[in-house]
């Protein structure tokens, strides 16, 4: 469901900074359906990748073979990302808060973490520079607190200061695709609000999954369940071994 909904967000020809797992599935699903000219860029340096198998990591050799370009990571970050060439970046995280801030660093205090998470990787700079950011995450109250323990990747409000004061080139997170609902950023406040409900899910169930009083759009979208074709591609072609689904 999440991969299918995220895939529909991608526009043909768009330059997409791809992470591993669901974002990779979503991008390759979009490429197989409505966006054959999507340009996939991985932070490892593969540009225009056409992986013959489901890549297990962003450095998988299948991303290199047959790609349009392989460049250094200095080029990826300086020329492609900071250079403003990336249309969409995908992010996920252990915690996502009301303002779209993402934490992939620590649960608990930084100096004495309860759980040490992997850290930023390229996420901090993707959140700053990609023209827009899509977040994919399962909905539950641990993952969606009112405030993250640590802001790894900036959303729309940082310790009270709005994004527009912080001179970030990209628009930041515009949409959060979850297994139950779609949240979107309110253009005024920068707050994540409920914008769409998956089939069979209630507003109360979504509210129970987030740690702040969730504002609800007056007219809610109803993202369609994955079509037979989407399911077939995901299950039989893109992830036949069920690594991510």
């Amino acid at each position: 469901m999440m991969a299918a909904v995220a895939a529909r967000e991608l526009r043909d020809g768009e330059v997409t900074f791809v992470g591993i797992g669901l974002p990779n599935l979503a991008c390759n699903l979009a490429r197989a359906l409505h966006a054959p000219n999507l340009v996939l860029i991985y932070e490892s340096g593969a540009v225009g990748a056409v992986p013959e198998r489901l890549p297990v990591s962003i450095g998988d050799p299948s991303l290199v073979t047959g790609s349009l370009m392989v460049c250094s990571m200095a080029d990826v970050f300086q020329l492609f990302l900071q250079g403003g060439r990336i249309g969409v970046g995908f992010l996920g995280g252990a915690q996502i808060d009301r303002w779209g801030n993402i934490n992939t660093t620590v649960v608990g205090p930084y100096a004495h973490p309860k759980v040490r998470l992997p850290g930023s990787g390229g996420a901090a700079e993707i959140a700053v520079h990609a023209r827009r950011v899509l977040i994919i995450s399962r909905l539950n109250p641990r993952a969606f607190p009112a405030e993250v323990d640590f802001v790894t990747s900036p959303g729309h409000r940082f310790h009270g200061r709005p994004r527009r004061e912080l001179s970030m080139p990209g628009a930041g997170p515009v949409k959060v695709v979850t297994d139950k609902a779609v949240l979107e950023t309110d253009p005024e406040s920068g707050e994540l609000v409920l914008a769409g409900l998956c089939p069979g899910v209630t507003v109360a169930e979504v509210q129970a999954g987030v740690g702040w009083p969730l504002r609800v759009r007056p007219a809610l979208d109803a993202p369609a369940a994955p079509s037979a074709e989407e399911l077939r591609l995901l299950r039989e072609v893109l992830d036949p071994r069920g690594l991510y689904l």
């Binding site: 990591s57 392989v70 850290g119 990787g121 901090a124 700079e125």
Partner: protein, 299 residues
């Protein structure tokens, strides 16, 4: 000129010293596990390990007690889980960390390679990273006045780079993902290149645009086929994704981790012995043929 070719044992003995800042680079691709294992076998201590993605190689070195500090930007086992030796060491306070994002680490090595004291990047606004790491600072643009982030140059004592091929002088060619190998090599005081294949200088000279690292920055060349396993070398062998999955259970249990080190590191005199313990490995992972055409360098 004299050849720089030595054994892995000799290269590590000569170039990696207790207390050094050691970089073993390679983004997923060309991570030199053979060098990491030899450092463990030679029982180096108090190392500052630096890499964008510590990966299994640094988790093993941390688990073996080689490291005092880790400098990094993403510490996980992609698609498979965590680096549990790293997590235990951090959560217990036994391992000091210095943390950036990928772009920050790239900028640090690029600055080191260019012998500039700092790198400039448009980043870290709206993030808690600068609060967690006071070495992330800012500078004002002398033209526009705007504030930009800075990171300090990273100049490792020694960098170990794996590559598909080099000549005896260390002129090194790489294809597939290049990561920050070039920047790390130029930034470093000493450089060890480990290759799948030692080739004649004429092979290098036939395609000079393919050269990533020139011999003049290289101190030692080690010939170690399959030296990246479980990482990979494009055109030689695939990544051993099964082992990356297995590492989750091994690294989670300190006893199992010790057992792994005993069997596959301390229990192996060298890379050949390591490979001999895994019959069938090479058949399972050997790369298929997908050779590109050459280009004309004539004039």
């Amino acid at each position: 000129m004299d050849s720089k070719v030595v054994s892995m044992k000799e290269a590590i003995a000569a170039h990696v010293r207790d207390g050094d800042t050691v970089v073993i680079e390679g983004f997923t691709h060309l991570i030199c596990f053979a060098a990491g294992h030899e450092i463990i076998r030679q029982r180096r201590r108090d190392l500052t390990l630096a890499r964008l993605t510590p990966d299994l190689v640094f988790d093993q070195m941390i688990g073996a007690g080689c490291a005092r500090k880790l400098v990094f930007s993403w510490a996980g086992n992609p698609g498979a889980g965590s680096l549990h030796a790293f997590r235990r060491a951090v959560e217990s306070g036994a391992l000091e960390i210095e943390e950036y994002s990928h772009f920050g680490m790239v900028a640090r090595l690029a600055a080191g390679a260019a012998r500039l004291p700092f790198g400039v990047l448009r980043n870290y606004m709206g993030s808690d990273l600068p609060a967690a790491n006071p070495r992330i600072r800012t500078v004002a643009c002398p033209y526009t006045g705007e504030t930009l982030a800075t990171v300090p140059a990273l100049e490792p004592d020694v960098t170990i780079v794996h590559a598909q091929r080099a000549d005896r002088q260390g002129n090194t060619q790489v294809w597939g993902l290049m990561g920050v190998q070039k920047e790390a090599a130029f930034a470093s005081k000493r450089v060890v290149v480990v290759v799948e294949e030692l080739v004649d200088e004429a092979v290098i000279r036939a395609d000079p645009n393919r050269t990533l690292i020139p011999g003049l920055v290289v101190d030692a060349v080690v010939v170690e086929p399959w030296g990246c396993h479980p990482s990979y070398a494009q055109g030689h062998y695939d990544r051993d994704n099964d082992f990356y999955v297995d590492w989750e259970a091994i690294s989670k249990d300190p006893g199992k981790l010790q057992g792994y080190l005993d069997e596959f590191v301390y229990g192996c005199a060298d890379r050949a012995a390591y490979l001999a313990r895994m019959p069938g490995l090479q058949d399972r992972l050997r790369a298929r043929e997908r050779t590109c055409a050459g280009v004309n360098y004539g004039f």
